[in-house]
């Protein structure tokens, strides 16, 4: 057990509760077997090269059930992961990246401040994917959103509607979605968000976004005669 400097004020019961939520995920069992500290995951990890981040320590803390370290990682480490899953090279069959996916879900479900911080500036993406069914749309290519991508983004943005019309596939003339998505399809997607509790997750981290999404979805769902459970 490592002496922890950070989050000493958070009661151990709270740390235990969050850890138990992670462990209760159906995938946990196949994502963590045991760790003999070979370091293969770290050598393959892009985030380990740029951050003080180690998939080996994620696996270790989880298998030791080291609650203070787990809680530190839950707040300070998991959002650094690239989710590339290079760490699945693990000879023990562990999936540290997958553990992080679960940890992120738990931190969202519990509305942790660190999760809210990590999602700052990201709300528009959640809005786009949940409300339109395609995550990336042509009209997201705005110079203020991607200043580091160069003046080229401005050129695309200026010519967007015209350039989209110059695409031979007829599903791709859209500008606010990546392709044309049928209303019926969207309705079905909304129903999925409702039925699987994803909207409730959003509520935990961004109440404003939750309200807007609900409004957007309501109309289509009603038209189709669906009443979310």
């Amino acid at each position: 057990m490592v002496l922890q400097a950070r989050y000493a004020d958070v009661p151990i019961e709270e740390k235990q509760r969050l850890f138990d939520e992670v462990k209760a995920d159906a995938r946990f069992e196949s994502y963590l077997y045991g760790c003999y500290e070979c370091g293969i995951c770290v050598a393959a990890c892009p985030s380990a090269r740029f951050y003080d981040f180690s998939p080996r320590k994620i696996a270790q803390a989880a298998s030791r059930e080291d609650l203070p370290m787990f809680y530190e990682q839950l707040n300070d480490d998991i959002w650094n992961c690239s989710q590339c899953f290079s760490c699945t090279r693990c000879p023990r069959g562990n999936n540290p990246g997958g553990l992080i996916t679960i940890m992120r879900e738990v931190s969202i479900n519990n509305g942790l401040t660190s999760a809210k911080t990590a999602l700052e500036g990201y709300g528009r993406v959640v809005y786009k994917i949940m409300s339109t069914g395609t995550q990336v749309s042509p009209d997201m290519l705005q110079p203020n959103a991607f200043p580091d991508w160069g003046p080229h983004v401005q050129e695309i943005s200026d010519n967007l509607a015209l350039w989209r019309r110059a695409l031979p596939p007829d599903t791709m003339h859209t500008t606010s979605t990546a392709w044309y998505v049928d209303d019926r399809t969207l309705t079905e997607l909304y129903l999925i968000w409702h039925m699987t509790g994803v909207l409730d997750m959003i509520k935990q981290v961004d109440t404003g976004l939750h309200m807007i999404l609900n409004d957007v979805m309501e109309e289509l769902l009603e038209e189709a005669g669906f009443t979310p459970e």
Partner: protein, 397 residues
């Protein structure tokens, strides 16, 4: 350094004496069929004709030739539209039947891996909704995005191993009125390109023998559910996935190795959107720089949405302090299409790409000035509303 080929040949030959190796993983497809036999779901069969390709542990995977339902990629269609267009163009060039659906959503996995604002049930339901739509159309799913492909394979494993998850998702599909159906194979478009590479080679019109290529294999293609990715003993001794590389070779260009091939591109899912300092650093320092130093390629080819975006767009800012960057990036689908005479703007839509690609086109023997002029004429006609959209007929005019 002299390469003692006999040493390596002897090593490879000993493989035969040792006898066949038993795959270390179960074949999830067998369980997919078992669940069908138990009445749990339908299995959509790969339509005839199909091509058998070899996966990591020597199993055969069926790749449909035609009758494909195109599970498009949001990042491709949204920001690299020449990527998707090139895939369709290749299919049309071979005269094959396909379906470009509107009853399709993103896999939503980009968001899931970025923000975790979703869960296992929702992700599986989105996948099965799309699979259901494909089944209803009578066409077989072909997945354009590496992340969708990897994620759907994870979803397949999870559904196969959890009756509870199957029940949850089946209940949702029932409510939506969609059939509960799992495809016999989960197929990435780059597997189709790999399977059809000789057909493309036959139709090649450009000499690519002077074109050097570095290949970036997409993480979510070969690191998620690894046993299902294509490997070929003739490509890097069977120790790396053969997709893309084998296509480059078939088209007569040269695959060049570099030491960070296994590294990811730096996309990071959330990083590309809200923490791009990481993405830019990784893409340039660990990938583009290394490629330039060790292989000096004319182009970087990859087979996934995020990788093309990251490797291409990250080079602009790096130019400020790194004269070394500036390698064009595209998908192998666009590259193959160019090799077969596709229009660089009408089909491959290279004007959406960031890093300077014109020297590459010149080296490939493409008159980009003339092609751009043609495309500008197209745009003029569209502007004047002579026509609403550029058509496939226009693309090959």
């Amino acid at each position: 350094m002299p390469i003692p080929l006999n040493v390596l040949d002897t090593r490879r030959d000993s493989r035969e004496e040792r006898g066949p190796a038993v795959p270390p993983t179960e074949d999830v497809r067998e369980q997919v069929f078992e669940l069908e036999a138990k009445g749990e779901w339908l299995v959509q069969r790969v339509p005839d004709p199909w091509i058998g390709v070899t996966t990591k542990y020597g199993r055969i995977k069926k790749i449909p030739v035609a009758k494909t339902w195109h599970h498009k990629s949001c990042g491709q269609c949204g920001h690299i539209p020449g990527y998707s267009t090139a895939i369709f163009w290749l299919i049309r060039k071979l005269g094959l039947d396909y379906n470009d659906p509107k009853d399709q959503t993103s896999c939503t996995a980009w968001n899931y891996y970025a923000s975790a604002t979703s869960n296992q049930g929702a992700q599986a339901a989105v996948a099965m909704r799309n699979f259901g739509a494909a089944y209803e159309s009578g066409y077989f799913p072909m997945i354009h995005c590496g992340t969708s492909y990897g994620h759907y394979k994870e979803v397949r494993e999870e559904l196969v191993h959890s009756a509870q998850l199957r029940d949850e998702v089946r209940r949702i599909c029932d409510k939506l009125g969609k059939p509960f159906v799992m495809p016999e194979e989960i197929v990435h478009y780059s597997e189709w390109i790999y399977a059809m590479r000789d057909e493309f080679a036959k139709r090649r019109v450009l000499d690519l023998s002077s074109i050097d290529v570095t290949v970036h294999p997409a993480c979510h293609y070969h690191k998620l559910v690894v046993e299902d990715a294509i490997y070929d003993p003739d490509v890097y001794g069977g120790q790396r996935t053969a997709v893309v590389s084998a296509v480059v070779t078939a088209l007569g260009a040269n695959v060049k190795d570099y030491s960070t091939w296994f590294d990811c591109c730096g996309f990071g899912f959330r990083h590309i959107l809200v923490q791009r300092d990481f993405t830019r650093s990784f893409a340039t320092l660990r990938k583009i720089d290394v490629m330039r130093e060790e292989a000096n390629p004319d182009v970087v080819l990859t087979h996934d949405t995020g990788c093309v975006t990251t490797l291409d767009q990250s080079q602009f800012a790096a130019r400020a302090h790194k004269p070394n960057v500036g390698i064009p990036v595209m998908s192998e689908a666009q590259f193959a299409a160019l090799a077969m005479g596709a229009h660089p703007y009408r089909v491959c839509q290279l004007h959406w790409h960031s890093t300077e690609y014109r020297p590459l086109l010149e080296k490939m023997g493409i008159d980009w000035r003339e092609r751009w002029r043609e495309f500008e004429d197209d745009l003029e006609r569209l502007k004047k509303d002579d026509k609403a959209f550029l058509t496939w007929e226009d693309a090959d005019a």
